[in-house]
């Protein structure tokens, strides 16, 4: 169900992604995350096209934490911020975080490679149905993503929308 990947640049860490739909307690989950009771990033899966997109965001978050360049308060908020094409933090949370009336959530965890992620800690808190994380695109809102990342039809001539999204995430600090 879940997807776990290692980070070549940070071999001590691994990233695990869990995807849920028909979630009934997004408000409660959001509150728990704000209080630090969930050690993970709660992401709106409508804004994600592929697990690679979130994996890149997690890699970037660990990187900025390592080099002391975080722009937000925690590793998990940094993952959400890394997804955003702009440097506006509150905008990033609004678009890529979850809202109280959402019905789906993608949870991204960064954990020690040697240990499995704490399953019970996360799964027991979500009142919803877990689905395979690689089915992420079934929940994506394609039109919204294209609009937010400003992907033109011209750009789609030389690559996918995912490619366009990834380039903007990577280039954010240099443009």
């Amino acid at each position: 169900m879940h997807l776990t990947n290692s980070l070549e640049l940070f071999p001590e860490f691994a990233v695990t992604q869990l995807l849920f739909r028909d979630v009934k307690n997004c408000a409660e989950l959001r509150k728990m995350a704000m209080e630090g009771k969930i050690a993970g990033a709660l992401i709106n899966p409508a804004m994600v096209l592929d697990p690679f997109q979130t994996l890149l965001a997690a890699n970037k978050a660990v990187h900025v934490q390592k080099v002391g360049k975080m722009k937000t308060r925690s590793l998990y908020s940094e993952i959400i911020f890394s997804l955003s094409p702009t440097n506006n933090i509150s905008e990033a949370f609004k678009r890529f975080g979850i809202s109280d009336n959402d019905h789906a959530v993608l949870i991204v965890l960064v954990h020690n490679k040697e240990e499995e992620y704490n399953k019970d800690d996360v799964q027991s808190k979500v009142d919803g149905q877990q689905i395979p994380a690689d089915q992420m695109s079934s929940l994506s809102d394609f039109a919204k993503i294209k609009k937010l990342y400003k992907v033109s039809s011209q750009e789609e001539k030389c690559g996918s929308v995912l490619d366009a999204v990834i380039c903007r995430m990577a280039a954010k600090d240099v443009v």
Partner: protein, 237 residues
């Protein structure tokens, strides 16, 4: 060359120490790696010892930033260039999509010539190069290092060939015909010295460049001026 600079050939990133080095240049090392489940190319710009450290860091960083910006600018305009996965400004590394099933245009042309194929068989390629460069210049991207090594030819699953631009480290944004003319002049020099007896091929390239952009006449005029200057200088020097 890095050794001559007294710079360690070992990368600052531990994951690159075991990686396959595919090119050691004067300013950058290029590696092939696995990155988050994909095959990727890492371009690492290393310090040059003969430059003042603070200046060096600034220049290096600017090149990394320019490379990423120009790739994005090209892609937004529909000009094929590798996807940027990740930029590490603390080690001046860019992680790029690896263009698989590809060879450099240089290798392609050299192979065609070596196998005795006619120059005419390469006309379509030259025309394609001209069109893509015209499009790039219409976006005001000046590549800064146009050579046939910095254009990759990818064989798509359909069998079609896609021309992709790479190596934007010396690129910048300018609308001046002079800058575009110099860009083409650099390519002409590199092209004709790498591929002898291909003058007609380069003519084809310029012809399609001219047909593909409204701004081309002013650029070609500058190209002619730059050529003349180049000749005068070589007569004096």
């Amino acid at each position: 060359m890095a050794e001559a600079d007294g710079v360690s050939v070992r990368s600052v990133l531990p994951c690159l120490r075991e990686a396959e080095l595919i090119k050691q240049g004067a300013e950058a090392r290029v590696y092939r790696v696995r990155f988050l489940g994909r095959s990727a190319i890492v371009k690492e710009r290393f310090p040059k010892r003969y430059r003042h450290p603070a200046l060096d860091e600034k220049l290096t960083r600017r090149r990394v930033a320019q490379e990423v910006r120009s790739i994005l600018r090209c892609r937004k305009a529909g000009i094929a260039a590798p996807v940027v996965y990740f930029v590490d400004l603390s080690s001046n590394c860019i992680f790029l999509e690896e263009i698989t099933e590809s060879i450099t245009t240089r290798e392609h042309i050299a192979a065609a010539r070596a196998s005795g194929r006619s120059v005419e068989s390469l006309h379509d390629l030259a025309e394609n190069m001209g069109r893509i460069l015209a499009k790039m210049h219409d976006e005001d991207v000046i590549h800064g290092d146009l050579t046939t090594s910095n254009m990759l030819l990818k064989t798509e699953s359909s069998g079609e060939l896609t021309l992709m631009l790479i190596d934007f480290g010396l690129s910048f944004v300018s609308a001046l015909p002079e800058d575009k003319g110099v860009d083409l002049y650099v390519l002409e020099k590199a092209f004709l010295s790498t591929h002898p007896n291909t003058e007609t091929l380069f003519q084809k390239l310029l012809h399609s460049y001219t047909g593909a952009s409204k701004k081309a006449p002013a650029v070609i005029k500058k190209l002619d001026e730059v050529r003349l200057r180049g000749r005068k200088r070589s007569m004096v020097g």
